[in-house]
């Protein structure tokens, strides 16, 4: 039995010890946000934070995380409670196909946790283990720099509960949410 902390909660598993952490998280804990990309630790789609360090989990046997803290994209933030970097990703429309972005965000958040004001070189060093075939790199860079500069502190995605509605922006009249029921 292997015990570890998963997104802040203690968990345990009795899967074969050589099973890579990626498949344990995806298929036993049913968190599908971390992706399989290469199986050789080359593309970063499977990245999770291991005690705060962005780690390739497609080649990491689950036995190696005994007693350690694992953070996946699901632990970073949710639609209702976005991590500042996730907000920046939305604000800058970073994702295209989106497949690699969980890994990108795991590496970016590990970087900012260590280095809140990274230079472009710091970003290049920290992020070059994560491939993106769609070519979203310029926006990844912009989103990290914007987050570090505090650019998303007051920003909310349009349509979210906290965002100013289009109406209140245009004419100052607050409006009901879209799901407000009909009265018929």
């Amino acid at each position: 039995m292997i015990h570890f902390m998963l997104n802040g909660e203690p968990v345990s598993t009795d899967v074969p010890e050589d099973t890579p952490l990626l498949w344990v998280i995806r298929d036993y804990f049913n968190l599908k946000g971390s992706k399989f990309g290469c199986g050789m630790g080359l593309c970063g789609a499977c990245s999770m934070q291991l005690d705060g360090v962005s780690t390739r989990t497609c080649i990491l046997p689950v036995s190696a995380v005994e007693g350690r803290h694992v953070t996946t994209i699901e632990g970073l933030g949710t639609a209702d409670n976005l991590h500042p970097l996730q907000k920046a990703w939305v604000k800058h429309s970073v994702p295209q196909c989106g497949y690699c972005q969980s890994g990108q965000l795991i590496s970016a958040s590990a970087l900012l946790a260590q280095n809140p004001n990274p230079t472009e070189d710091d970003i290049a060093n920290a992020m070059s283990g994560n491939l993106c075939r769609c070519g979203t790199y310029p926006r990844i860079k912009d989103a990290i720099l914007d987050t570090a500069a505090g650019g998303v502190a007051q920003w909310e995605p349009p349509g979210s509960d906290n965002a100013p509605s289009a109406d209140s922006v245009s004419d100052g009249v607050a409006q009901e949410k879209s799901v407000a029921g009909g009265e018929a």
Partner: protein, 745 residues
């Protein structure tokens, strides 16, 4: 203007009998119940048309007719219905459309996504769907509130009365369902657009930034089993015999069996299946490709060009004959050059995968695909099922670039699923490819060799442009795969074989496959042109990769135009402007990129190169700024100007240009698939290198302000980047690099 072809009434017949609800009970009497129907989100939902439904709770559901693979159909097409329906796009619930002719691509005649056409073919029909739906709700509101429709306004999913009262659309759903359906309601004037042409974050940004976006590999079902397939190192070889004794000893392994193209291992867990696969030995049949190696290919193409004049694809003026005159003229210069590109793999970040479940006559299949309609046909054909009983559940695509337009991963899933269902009835199985499988069993962008020859007069005007391309053709491989599935039943088998790869096919020696030569001659004003093709095919499976033929003809044409400019002592920008007088839009992007990139004034130590290319009805010019240190090429900045007609979502147009440039840069600097004795030598990202963040240039995109209808953006960003970089490298070093990937001596 094209109009929405599906009336609401017509669409009703497509709905399943089980959906119930007030609209259906009122309208479906006598209609046959199709199995493959849109599932209504709620029994009370009002079906506005094929694309839109709205519930009494005021939730708008949009059935997305084109698949989302990163190119932005999810956001872009939602923007179109949102604009005319007057609902903010992020408030719309987007659903993947099931296979239904209501969602056929108007140009393809089937349900599919590709060719950078989604926005182009949706711009009017989806707006019309939104406008008709809005009118229907306004009519109902007017009737209920006792006012005239003209007195009501709409805003963000609400009807607004003259006194400023706001009523959610959902309130009028029941009444609207009893009223006649408005058709051909006038669309908004461009000056009234609230969303089209405006900046707004893409609506799939949140799910794709929180790990909740669902791709094919994320599909999960009760008792889902996983499968891996051991594939032949050489494409086309079949398993002759295999030994799975050791593999079957592993706990968890459910079944090991041969299929047409390999040996399938099914287990409860993917890791077990992968471990078991290593314990299986397979003996493969011999195929002709096993005697081929890519080291010979370029020479084979070259000798074909030496000995054959090939087939004519295009000729204007006197064609290549005009060169003879030029060669004997003192006032003409003749220039000739040979260019080469290798095979390329798509390397989507999400490897191929497919989930399938057979239950008696019924099959359900879950996958990301560009060929939604053909998937249903392929499952029905290969599984010998009724199409009506094949249910295709599409997900987001974790990248595609053309790869998921192929059906190989569907056809093998049918075989695996059916074999597995014999021992495990009604049990879903998911086939997951390894990266190595994905890299070695692609439909490759063909390698190509081209010879270009031109004459320039003493004024620097190109008088003759002749180009001959040699290589394999993509279309025959694509046809080979789909022709049984899609060909009308009356076609005799012989004709099917003749059209496809199996016989001595149509595209081998009779007509030129347009995909092989597209982009070789179209862009420049030259009085005498000729394009020819010599087919040489070694049997590597070929397919469409982002921008297809343009992915190499852009490199050939734009490198050669640069050579001509230099030979004529002309500035490369001026040379291109002089030869695009009859194409104001191509001329426009060239002029604009030279201005915004400050052509002729690069930063110190950097060198500029320009390229321009029209593809998918859009015009793109790029200037790359590079430096060279030793043999290392660094691309610092790319300035891109695009004319794609009206930019519905300008920021997404920019994103597609950025992505296209970086995709094309991987091919320009690194991409190369080789094979030895029929087996692909590359296997993963260490030997098939892609541009990483540290190597990604700054990209600055400008969009030409246009009132023309929208055209493609997913692919047109790719073709100019390799020649722009190669032309800049020439400025930096004097070396003309005529092969990709670019390698300095």
């Amino acid at each position: 203007m094209s109009q929405l072809k599906v009336s609401r009434r017509g669409f009703m017949g497509l709905l399943g009998a089980g959906s119930g609800g007030l609209v259906l009970s009122a309208s479906l009497s006598g209609c046959a119940s199709g199995n493959n129907a849109v599932q209504s989100p709620s029994p009370e939902a009002l079906v506005l048309n094929a694309f839109l439904q709205i519930t009494p709770e005021n939730t708008v559901h949009f059935y997305l007719p084109r698949e989302e693979m990163g190119q932005g159909s999810y956001h872009g097409l939602t923007t179109l219905v949102a604009e005319e329906l007057d609902v903010l796009p992020e408030r719309i619930t987007v659903q993947h459309a099931p296979v239904n002719k209501a969602f056929n691509h108007p140009e393809f005649g089937m349900q599919g996504t590709g060719g950078s056409t989604s926005m182009k073919v949706s711009f009017y029909p989806l707006r019309q769907a939104g406008a008709n739906a809005r009118a229907m709700l306004v009519d109902a509101a007017a009737a209920e509130l006792g006012v005239s429709p003209a007195q009501l306004k709409t805003e963000d999913g609400h009807i607004i009365t003259t006194s400023g009262e706001r009523h959610p659309y959902g309130r009028f759903v029941q009444l609207a369902s009893t009223l006649p359906t408005p058709e051909n309601v006038p669309l908004k004037n461009a000056s009234d657009f609230n969303l089209i042409g405006k900046q707004r974050p893409r609506i799939d940004g949140i799910s794709k930034s929180t790990g909740t976006a669902q791709f094919g590999i994320d599909v999960d079902l009760p008792n889902l089993h996983k499968a891996v397939i051991i594939r032949s190192p050489v494409y086309g070889a079949k398993p002759v015999k295999f030994d799975a004794t050791e593999a079957l000893k592993l706990a968890d392994v459910a079944q090991v069996f041969a299929i047409d193209n390999g040996v399938a291992i099914v287990a409860k867990h993917i890791w077990t299946a992968k471990k078991a696969a290593k314990l299986v030995s397979v003996e493969w049949s011999n195929v002709p490709l096993a005697s081929q190696s890519s080291t010979h290919i370029r020479d084979d193409f070259a000798s074909a060009l030496d000995t054959s004049e090939g087939e004519e694809h295009f000729k204007s003026g006197e064609g290549v004959q005009a060169l003879q005159q030029a060669e004997s003229s003192e006032n003409s210069t003749v220039v000739e050059a040979e260019y080469w590109v290798p095979f390329l793999a798509h390397a989507t970040m999400e490897p191929m995968n497919c989930t399938i479940q057979f239950n008696g006559p019924r099959c359900d299949i879950w996958l990301g695909t560009q060929m939604t309609g053909a998937v249903q046909s392929a499952v029905a054909y290969h599984g010998e099922l009724d199409k009506e009983n094949v249910f295709v559940h599409t997900t987001l695509l974790g990248g595609s670039f053309g790869r998921r337009g192929n059906l190989d991963y569907v056809v093998e899933a049918v075989e695996v699923g059916q074999a597995f269902s014999k021992s495990h009835p009604n049990t879903p199985v998911q086939i997951v490819w390894s990266r190595e499988d994905d890299m070695r069993h692609d439909y490759y962008r063909p390698a190509a060799l081209a010879r270009l020859k031109a004459s320039i007069d003493d004024q620097g005007q190109v008088q003759t442009w002749a180009a001959t391309r040699s290589g394999g053709n993509m279309m025959s491989y694509i046809l080979d795969e789909v022709i049984d599935v899609l060909a009308p039943g009356f076609l005799p088998n012989g004709m099917v074989d003749w059209l496809s790869k199996r016989g001595y096919g149509l595209f081998e020696n009779w007509v030129v496959d347009p995909s092989s030569v597209e982009g070789l001659h179209e862009d420049y004003d030259v009085p005498n042109k000729e394009v020819r093709h010599v087919t040489v095919d070694h049997g590597m499976r070929l397919g469409f990769l982002r921008s297809v033929g343009h992915s190499y003809t852009g490199f050939f044409k734009e490198s050669f135009m640069d050579e001509l400019a230099i030979k004529a002592n002309m500035d490369p920008v001026e040379m291109r402007l002089n030869h695009t007088q009859s194409s104001p839009r191509l001329n426009g992007v060239i002029r604009e990129v030279a201005k915004v990139a400050q052509w002729g004034k690069p930063q110190q130590g950097r060198f500029q190169g320009i390229a321009a290319h029209r593809s998918f009805d859009s015009y793109v010019a790029q200037i790359a700024e590079v430096s060279v240190e030793g043999s290392k090429i660094t691309v610092h900045k790319v300035t891109c100007v695009v004319d794609c007609g009206r930019a519905v979502n300008p920021d997404m147009v920019k994103a597609q240009m950025e992505g296209g440039i970086i995709f094309g840069l991987s091919a320009a600097l690194y991409g190369e698939i080789t094979f030895k004795e029929g087996a692909v030598e590359q296997s993963n990202f260490h030997d098939y290198r892609l541009v990483r963040l540290a190597e990604a240039p700054e990209v600055e995109v400008h969009i030409i302000d246009s009132q023309e209808d929208p055209t493609g953006v997913g692919e047109p960003g790719v073709p100019p980047i390799a020649p722009a970089v190669a032309n800049a490298v020439f400025q930096a070093t004097g070396q003309r690099l005529r092969s990709l990937p670019l390698k300095l001596a």
